[in-house]
């Protein structure tokens, strides 16, 4: 472990340095290269983006719940063009749906989730002074911020933001004649995405390199906490799949702006037969989903890693089946690359190819089931402390199971024919991404808040936040399964044009009400977050009696993380309630007692 010693040496240098020169405000808070500060920057940007995305969803849920009714609040926020007299405009509706999805998937659950927790936890949990490259890390954040700003700005351009759904399928997204949102808004969407992907790659490379090279002495791969494994595999998925989205986006930009025809063929629109032949709109879908499906796990795996850590700590029990948990993360990561075609069963894809994707997709159910069972067994015979983070993690397991099971239906091509692109799909992926992954993120924030800000979040507000969010989340997304099975397509502005759907539509106002309450209760969380940052109770060094390395660093952040040498690791991260010890937790830095059994 020459590396670790080397960094330890480096550090004493750094440390002395830090004492002599106070950092300027700008280099500390703005152009910081410290991973802890960058993590906070990611988190706060993601919270701002999340608030925007949730507000957009409430705007379109108002229209869906009470179609055709006028809401002054819409006019208040959206103005006369998008909500004349408080009635949501049809183009605006599609723009909101699109930007809501884009922000949630990419900015909150990819940039926000990985960016926050990979940055905060990787150096702290593997025992490193900082990321492998602090400079690239800083660039990663700044690219993320630029892309966020462009994405939000796209809401304000002439014609509105991109409106073809977050999957931006061409030709709709390629032809400015096809809809107003395919004009400037779409160009900005693509440019924003290119910055976003750059951010994601810079971050991802850094995470992978740091985990491989900068582990402290004794931190073998098999002693890594599961958060590290999850973030490691996530970063690899991102590095391998995001470049494909760049290609897809650049080709689309060319089709839009330079008259190429990668995705276009035989199109007559707005009275003109376009000079395009030989392209294939389906090609875009293959490229998009080659990223798009790993992306689902880029969103989910960090949440699973976080919850493993939280559940083990708060059950005061080792995570059950550590090796199986690592194995399933790896299996899910691998399989996620060969299942993208299940998004395309009804595109006219060769049915045999469809069969292959049915097979690979359903295989994912196996590692997923192993994870779910292992979570429950970890809780079994534990001594559970219900911290807000623990509640969110238990909520995560429930939603992971519920949402995962409906995935079985969608994976089955013969069944997908009838539920493809209906609300059933919306229900499925919101329960796994909108609930599971968000719960993982919220749980992580409650759990590591003391590490980030040196203060505690308010527990009581956390309880209220969790229970209302859980009830509202299920209240919104569970009934959507039935709306979808009854044949209601997604991305419809108004369902009252179809009499055969009337009998399920009484669910829509209920769903919207839950959405509004669920959205409103997030104010509680945001208040708790910012208020505790300043006025919360001062945290102790290891508030949750946890084993992992990050809790051995001082509460007040310092450059280089540990004031002295980086501690050496002697055991795995899950020695909770080990019968060979008096205490119910044994931090990784505690040496093995003579004759003690290692795990």
């Amino acid at each position: 472990m020459g590396n670790a010693e080397h960094t330890a040496h480096d550090h004493s240098h750094d440390h002395g340095h830090a004492h002599h020169h106070e950092e300027s405000w700008v280099s500390k808070y703005i152009f910081s290269q410290d991973h802890k500060m960058i993590s906070k920057q990611f988190l706060i940007t993601a919270i701002v983006m999340g608030v925007i995305a949730v507000m957009l969803s409430i705007f379109f849920r108002l229209q869906l719940g009470w179609p055709g009714e006028k809401f002054q609040i819409l006019n208040f926020f959206l103005g006369d063009k998008w909500a004349p007299d408080g009635l949501l405009d049809k183009n605006a509706y599609l723009a909101m749906v699109t930007i809501h999805g884009t922000i949630m998937v990419f900015f909150v659950l990819t940039g926000g989730l990985s960016g926050t927790f990979a940055n905060l936890l990787i150096p702290l949990q593997v025992g490193a002074r900082d990321m492998a490259s602090g400079f690239l890390n800083m660039l990663s954040y700044w690219a993320f911020l630029i892309s966020s700003i462009i994405m939000v700005a796209s809401l304000f351009v002439e014609g509105g933001a991109a409106s073809g759904g977050w999957t931006i399928y061409p030709p709709l997204s390629a032809l400015p004649q096809a809809m107003p949102g395919s004009g400037t808004g779409m160009t900005l969407w693509l440019i924003s995405m290119v910055f976003f992907i750059a951010s994601s790659l810079l971050g991802g490379l850094n995470y992978v390199v740091t985990i491989i090279n900068l582990r402290t002495k004794g931190m073998s791969m098999t002693r890594l906490p599961l958060t590290m494994w999850a973030l490691f595999v996530t970063a690899i998925l991102g590095v391998l799949s995001f470049p494909v989205l760049v290609s897809a986006a650049v080709l689309l930009l060319m089709d839009r702006s330079f008259g190429t025809a990668f995705y276009l063929s035989d199109i007559f629109i707005q009275g003109e037969a376009l000079d395009v032949t030989g392209g294939s709109p389906i090609l875009f879908q293959h490229l998009f989903w080659f990223l798009g499906h790993p992306e689902v796990y880029i969103v989910l795996l960090p949440a699973l890693g976080i919850s493993s850590e939280i559940i083990s700590t708060n059950s005061r029990k080792p995570i059950f089946g550590y090796k199986a948990m690592v194995g399933s993360i790896l299996a899910i990561g691998f399989l996620s690359f060969i299942v993208w075609g299940h998004h395309m069963y009804v595109t006219g894809m060769n049915p045999f190819l469809g069969s292959v994707f049915v097979f690979t997709t359903l295989l994912i159910a196996i590692p997923s089931a192993v994870k779910a069972f292992n979570y429950i067994t970890t809780l079994y015979q534990g001594n559970i402390r219900f911290t807000p983070a623990m509640l969110f993690s238990i909520g995560l397991v429930s939603t992971f199971v519920t949402g995962g099971l409906t995935g079985i239906i969608l994976a089955d091509s013969a069944l997908d024919v009838n539920v493809h692109d209906t609300y059933f799909v919306v229900a499925h992926f919101h329960i796994v991404m909108g609930m599971s992954a968000i719960f993982g993120m919220l749980g992580g924030i409650y759990h590591w808040f003391p590490k980030m800000y040196g203060r505690m979040m308010n527990t009581k507000l956390g309880y209220v936040h969790f229970w209302v969010t859980l009830v509202c989340g299920y209240g919104v997304f569970f009934p959507m399964h039935f709306v979808g099975m009854a044949g209601a397509p997604r991305r419809y502005y108004d369902y009252s044009e179809f009499p055969f759907l009337d009998w399920v539509l009484d669910l829509n106002p209920i769903i919207s009400t839950f959405a509004i309450v669920g959205g409103a209760v997030q104010v509680l969380f945001i208040f708790n977050f910012f208020h505790s940052m300043k006025y919360g109770q001062v945290a102790s060094q290891n508030p949750w009696s946890s084993n992992t390395l990050e809790w051995t660093t001082p509460v007040k952040h310092i450059h280089g993380n540990w004031p002295g040498a980086i501690p050496e690791v002697h055991r795995w991260a899950y020695d909770y309630s080990n019968p060979e010890h008096e205490e119910d937790f044994v931090p990784q830095v505690v040496p093995m007692k003579p004759g003690e059994h290692a795990h």
């Binding site: 208040f76 049809k90 399928y169 030709p171 709709l172 096809a178 063929s265 035989d266 007559f268 629109i269 037969a273 000079d275 294939s280 389906i282 089946g321 550590y322 595109t347 006219g348 049915p351 069969s355 049915v358 097979f359 359903l362 159910a365 196996i366 192993v370 069972f373 292992n374 429950i376 001594n383 402390r385 219900f386 429930s398 519920t402 099971l405 079985i408 239906i409 089955d412 013969a414 069944l415 024919v417 009838n418 209906t422 505690m456 527990t459 859980l470 299920y474 039935f482 009854a486 044949g487 397509p489 502005y493 108004d494 055969f500 669910l507 208040f527 708790n528 208020h531 899950y574 795990h599």
Partner: protein, 420 residues
């Protein structure tokens, strides 16, 4: 109104601030730490797990009872297989849903924090883990096998005698084409699309008409440019726009000249077989009990032909024809009887976002007996040699150029919805 909203938000925030201050004050008085979860709180949350579980399960059962019959019985042959498979799958995942969630919430409740208990150090058990790798493995094998059997049935090639109907999508309407007496569709090409020939059907006359149209357009533009040469009033950029337009129109002509003529199965030219095709914009009529192979084409963007009552769906992709076969089994009349609803109609929806009127791009489907169907078909005009009059029904005069510009329901929908 705006003031009121702001006032409510401000008041809510003040209320939360005050509440949390009171809470923190009491906390300091009791000298308790935020991370120490009091026994009362632990118990409360553990009990809430049970309360939530009951609410969740009762709610789920209610939804199953009230909305579980998600669609009327399938009106197509393969639909029965799909529903059977769906039934098995739903049954399996529902059982797993209840077991797993119940286990989770019960375990969480039962093993709530007790001061005198120590958690059991239980790190792994290979046998247990093997069991829950194998169980989903076997379940998946079952699901995959039955799923693929059904999938192959649905997507296998259509039988020899299957009749073909073309479904054509455009923003924001469906058009159906029946092959006519000869059973062969005429060639179609997007370069020939005009307001009078919305599907771009090919015939010598239509080619000539289109060429003429393009020629006159080019001439018009050239004349404008000539005028400008004599008296330059146009800005440079506009001149370029016009020149570019002429260039593109010339290319358009070239693409038409490149169209190939082929012999179809019955020895006729595919430029001729289109003349008896029947183009229908109002309703899609299908004979009951006959296998139908739909051929899907799209004019502009990707749409998706979704017929939930028949458990059928296929995307329509510009430039890439797609197919889906099915056999309707229940006529509209029979279905109305079964549902005791005189107004019931089968419907074809668009299920791929395609623009602002996506939500209303629909076509009524009428399934009827073969006699009724043939009688209806006979009344449909054939495309004929004189497309100008015959192909454009009175209500279908909407110019494609203005469909997206209208914020309200475009004329295209109005025509699609209009019964004859």
């Amino acid at each position: 109104m705006k003031l009121l909203i702001i006032l409510v938000i401000v008041l809510a925030i003040i209320a939360i601030v005050q509440l949390s201050k009171v809470y923190e004050f009491t906390r300091t008085l009791r000298k308790s730490k935020e991370e120490e979860i009091s026994p009362a709180d632990n118990k409360l949350n553990a009990n809430l797990m049970l309360v939530w579980m009951s609410v969740f399960f009762i709610g789920t059962l209610y939804l199953y009872a009230r909305y579980g019959e998600y669609l009327p019985e399938p009106a197509s042959e393969h639909g029965k297989d799909v529903d059977w498979l769906m039934g098995i799958n739903i049954w399996m995942i529902t059982v797993m849903f209840f077991i797993m969630n119940a286990m989770l919430f019960l375990v969480a409740w039962k093993y709530q924090y007790k001061k005198d208990r120590k958690a059991r150090f239980f790190a792994h058990d290979n046998r247990l883990e093997m069991v829950w790798t194998l169980i989903p493995g076997v379940a998946m094998a079952f699901i995959i096998v039955f799923g693929l059997i059904t999938w192959n049935k649905i997507t296998g090639p259509a039988s020899e005698g299957a009749m073909q109907i073309e479904l054509y999508s455009k923003q924001f309407a469906w058009i159906a084409r029946y092959p006519g007496q000869d059973g062969q569709f005429g060639a179609a090409n997007y370069n020939l699309i005009s307001t009078k020939n919305e599907m771009g059907i090919v015939s010598k006359e239509l080619i000539a008409a289109k060429m003429e149209e393009l020629d006159s357009e080019i001439e018009g533009l050239k004349a404008q440019l000539e005028e400008n040469k004599k008296l330059p009033v146009m800005p440079e950029s506009y001149v370029e726009t016009l020149e570019d337009k002429i260039f593109r129109l010339e290319r358009h002509k070239q693409r038409i000249l490149d169209l190939g003529e082929y012999k179809t199965a019955n020895g006729m030219s595919n430029w001729v077989t289109g003349s008896d095709d029947q183009v229908v914009k109002s309703e899609l009529h299908l004979p009951v009990g006959k296998e139908i192979e739909f051929v899907f084409r799209s004019q502009d963007v990707i749409h998706s032909a979704y017929m939930p009552h028949f458990r059928a769906q296929m995307n329509t992709v510009p430039g890439v024809p797609t197919r889906f076969k099915m056999t309707p089994t229940i006529t509209t009349k029979e279905m109305r009887g079964k549902l005791a609803d005189d107004k019931f109609d089968y419907v074809l929806l668009c299920n791929k976002v395609c623009g602002n009127a996506h939500f209303n791009m629909q076509m009524k489907i009428v399934v009827e007996t073969e006699e009724e169907y043939l009688a209806w078909l006979e009344k449909q005009k054939s495309f004929g040699g004189e497309p100008a009059q015959e192909a454009a029904p009175a209500e279908g005069t909407d110019a494609p150029a203005d469909t997206t510009m209208k914020a309200a329901m475009p004329a295209a929908q109005a025509s699609a919805k209009m019964t004859h």
